[in-house]
């Protein structure tokens, strides 16, 4: 089996909020790379949104790409401004970098990244799809599902084939740089998005995460209201921030994606113990 890739230029959503009137969305493009097995018929699509530190799409040798394609999923990797194949970032000397103190505006634009990809690919047609994100990409998913795009309903929830989201270590870089950004505000901001999200969502954090440490994860867990279909999970106490692409993390991520895709019982990292919804003890 081999993994084949297809590169696509993704236009920015026409409603995308550019940093100022000096920038027009028609001048900018995102970049999408599609990964799939050359032998397995696709049964679902995984839209992958990487972290802010990613400068290129994942390699075909990346464990989570291999795991997901082996499971018969197409992985659509999203490249935001400044990444491989995408337009240069209009935020370089303007509003919207990851250290921005105005988190709300940051997440609004980040949420539009997800909307742009889904709108361009029309939700993947009839195949079921799951949103998968790491770090800032995980936050982008939550912002999108929390309705930060404003007038438009979260694009994902408008598609009948949407199965859920796996948000791995949602946060934003630059934690602790108190000039712009501080951890309590990051938690505060993330809590808002976790609370407003009504979609089925798994939020996962590793025990050795420098950027979304366990205390951070547990605080956001506290705001999951009763009745929300949100799970707080962990791959384990020894997993770092970017665990999605690790050898040990990839099969756990793949299993959770599969459970969302097939609407089966969400389990702990051991793959057998049923997980508990949100913060509610059954």
């Amino acid at each position: 089996m081999a993994i084949v890739t297809v590169d696509v230029v993704c236009p920015v959503h026409p409603n995308y909020p550019m940093p100022s009137l000096a920038y027009t969305s028609t001048d900018y493009n995102f970049h999408i790379r599609q990964f799939s097995s050359d032998t397995i018929s696709a049964t679902g699509i995984v839209y992958y949104f990487p972290g802010s530190g990613a400068v290129a799409h994942p390699l075909t040798t990346n464990p989570f790409i291999i795991d997901l394609t082996d499971r018969g999923y197409i992985v659509v990797s999203f490249g935001r401004f400044g990444m491989e194949g995408a337009s240069s970032s209009p935020y370089k000397t303007s509003y919207g970098n990851v250290n921005d103190p105005h988190f709300t505006a940051h997440w609004i634009k980040s949420g539009w990244d997800v909307a742009s990809a889904l709108a361009f690919l029309a939700g993947g047609g009839s195949l079921p799809f799951v949103l998968l994100g790491s770090s800032q990409g995980a936050s982008s998913i939550l912002a999108h599902l929390a309705g930060y795009c404003g007038t438009d309903a979260p694009a994902a929830t408008t598609y009948a084939n949407f199965r859920g989201a796996l948000s791995c270590a949602p946060t934003v870089g630059g934690l602790g740089g108190y000039q712009w950004n501080d951890l309590p505000r990051n938690i505060n901001s993330m809590c808002n998005m976790v609370y407003l999200n009504n979609a089925k969502t798994l939020i996962a954090g590793g025990g050795l995460d420098d950027y979304a440490p366990p205390d951070y994860v547990r605080r956001t867990q506290q705001v999951i209201p009763d009745g929300k279909d949100t799970y707080e999970l962990t791959p384990g106490p020894t997993f770092p921030h970017s665990f999605v692409g690790t050898t040990l993390g990839a099969p756990i991520v793949g299993r959770w994606v599969s459970q969302l895709m097939n609407n089966t019982t969400i389990t702990l990292a051991d793959g057998t113990t049923p997980a508990i919804i949100g913060g509610v003890v059954p």
Partner: protein, 619 residues
């Protein structure tokens, strides 16, 4: 008492023998009496065998007096006067006559003592604490400094003259006025380390330390049992989870652990517009928004709930309409009305007009609402005036320069191309060369990291802005072909050159340019390696058009909204902050004409509002 009694001779002639006997007896008595009389020139001290009574006469010209005891007026002076020191006034038994006494309590001096001490005769005060250390003295300055070879030049200097030998790092002193009478050199290097000093006295007791947070539980940890774990993190609880880098650890450690926090019912909602710092110095888009049948100038804001004693925030409002700078329309998510006091202050720079120096505006900050109860409609559909800024007293002015901002000008449109075509082309020719950010020389670079540049690397010649001044003009640089450089360099009237880095980018130079107001000339590095840029034209835009194309042009004035207003937020109702502007004398507004410099609006509310409507478990 008579000391010498002599017998008279009665009959010297008649009885010579008897007379002789009388004379001899008198002589013996005289000798004996003289023996008992003070000697004025004796060869040994007069020896007294009984008291010596001066009978109230003085003893004069005594060289020294040696005595076992001396009494004055009946009181013995047994030794010299002494100082006595004690705490408080002296008792009668203290000291002797002529002694002195110091009361260490207050510095009173008593004495000299007679039979009693009497009242204090003076006060010397109490010795105060040691004063502060004085300023460091000036460092030693030798009379002369020089290499070894120079010292003989000063051989005839006076005693005390000093010479610092920089060759040897030694100081020499003239020991006398004699020629060449120098001391041995004194090195300025540190001496050997001295012996270890004695152990100092024990320090004072320190302040009481912080209470162990684990022993100061203000919230029942059992409340946290309701949180599902869903797997094992690096620690099982909400405390002690410390896996981050040390920097993160430090930041994290500043906040108390969750299970030591008091559960409080006080919360604050903050409404924060994007301000200059948060936007990296570009103007936010404050658009005219059409919503709910109205069109109004809508201020984008960040809405942040602060639950005191915890970083957790839960939205009191959710977004309904947003733009790239924040929420424009927001919906109250509570299930009960929130009666609050909205307070705060927002400071703006607002643009009064593009090109009318006498224009001014009156701005009113309003809270609009939709889907509120009908009784809130009133005569204004529920819109509340929060604050007014009166604009006629502060004359507007232009930005003195643009160096502190990052704003880009608007994109090129056909209308801008048409406008530029009516103005002269300031481009004359290009030069083979380039400059880098920060360069400030006339000479262009002709070699980069790759090597010598080819003919594709080009910079415009200096373009003269004397007629079309940069404080009122933006410029359209139109080119054909490709361009991957857009770096701006400025030459002032005095000939000094600097790179306008804030507007320099490594992308296409086909755009509207802003130039600093102190520029007399400008040149643009527009064609990089492999670029095919051609058909260059660099033209000013009209003054009014420039004011519309450059967000920093025009006249500006400070605007402040001070807010103190009771407000009710109703469940399901939508809200927005509306800036209503009345323009006078040619005033006008633009979406970029509201640059917030800081401030926020906020209100406190009962966090029970959230407890009742959300989870009972996160407090």
């Amino acid at each position: 008492m008579t000391k010498l009694t002599l017998s008279n001779i009665v009959n010297l002639g008649g009885n010579p023998v008897s007379a002789q006997q009388v004379i001899n007896a008198n002589n013996q008595r005289t000798v004996l009496a003289m023996e008992n009389t003070l000697s004025r020139n004796g060869d040994k001290p007069n020896h007294m065998e009984s008291d010596f009574d001066l009978n109230h006469y003085d003893l004069l010209n005594a060289a020294r007096i040696f005595a076992d005891a001396i009494f004055i007026d009946g009181v013995e002076i047994s030794s010299a006067a002494q100082w006595n020191v004690g705490s408080g006034a002296p008792s009668l038994s203290v000291g002797k006559v002529n002694d002195f006494y110091l009361d260490s309590n207050n510095g009173d001096i008593y004495g000299p003592k007679t039979k009693v001490w009497g009242s204090p005769v003076a006060n010397i005060g109490i010795i105060g604490p040691v004063g502060p250390e004085g300023p460091a003295g000036q460092s030693y300055q030798p009379s002369a400094v020089g290499p070894t070879a120079d010292r003989p030049l000063y051989n005839k200097e006076k005693k005390g003259f000093s010479f610092f030998d920089t060759t040897l790092s030694q100081i020499f002193f003239k020991l006398s006025d004699n020629d060449s009478d120098w001391s041995a050199g004194v090195s300025l290097v540190a001496g050997p380390q001295g012996p270890v000093g004695p152990i100092g006295p024990e320090g004072p007791e320190g302040p009481i330390g912080p209470v162990n947070p684990n022993s100061a539980l203000l919230q029942d940890p059992s409340d946290l049992k309701s949180l599902a774990v869903n797997g094992t993190l690096s620690s099982g609880g909400l405390t002690g989870l410390r896996t981050a880098s040390q920097e993160l650890l430090d930041d994290y450690a500043k906040r108390p652990s969750l299970n030591t926090q008091a559960a409080v019912d006080l919360a604050t909602l903050m409404i924060v517009p994007p301000y200059e710092g948060s936007t990296n110095y570009i103007a936010p888009n404050v658009p005219f928004l059409s919503y709910g049948g109205s069109t109004f100038r809508c201020l984008p804001v960040d809405l942040r709930t602060v639950l005191h004693n915890t970083p957790i925030g839960v939205p009191l409002f959710k977004p309904v309409v947003t733009n790239g700078f924040g929420h424009l329309v927001w919906e109250y998510t509570g299930t009960e009305p929130a009666y609050v006091s909205l307070q705060g202050s927002l400071g703006f720079l607002t643009r009064t007009s593009g090109n009318s120096p006498n224009a001014y505006n009156r701005h009113t900050l309003r809270l609009r609402s939709w889907d509120h109860p009908s009784f809130e409609d009133g005569q204004n559909n529920g819109t509340r005036n929060l604050s007014v800024d009166i604009g006629s007293l502060v004359p507007p002015r232009k930005f003195s320069n643009y160096l502190e901002f990052q704003d880009r000008c608007v994109p090129i449109t056909q209308a801008l191309l048409d406008n530029a075509a009516t103005w002269p082309n300031l481009f004359t020719t290009s030069v083979n060369g380039f400059f880098n950010p920060g360069d400030s020389t006339e000479l262009l670079r002709t070699s980069d990291d790759i090597g010598p540049i080819d003919s594709s690397v080009r910079t415009t010649a200096w373009m003269d802005l004397a007629t079309y001044k940069p404080d009122e003009r933006a410029y359209l640089f139109n080119i054909s072909g490709t361009s991957t450089r857009a770096r701006v360099q400025v030459k002032r009237e005095d000939g000094s050159i600097y790179t306008y880095d804030n507007f320099s980018e490594d992308n296409s130079a086909r755009k509207i340019f802003r130039v600093p107001t102190d520029a007399r000339f400008v040149r643009i590095y527009y064609s990089g390696r492999g670029d095919t840029a051609g058909s260059e034209s660099f033209r000013p835009l009209g003054i009014d058009t420039s004011a519309s194309a450059d967000p920093l042009k025009g006249y500006w004035t400070p605007t402040t909204f001070n807010v103190g207003r009771d407000v009710v937020f109703y469940p399901g109702a939508k809200y927005a902050l509306d800036i209503f502007t009345t323009a006078f004398s040619g005033g006008s507004g633009r979406e970029w004409g509201f640059r917030c410099q800081g401030g926020s609006l906020s209100f406190n509310f009962d966090a029970g509002l959230l407890r009742k409507t959300l989870s009972t478990r996160f407090f």
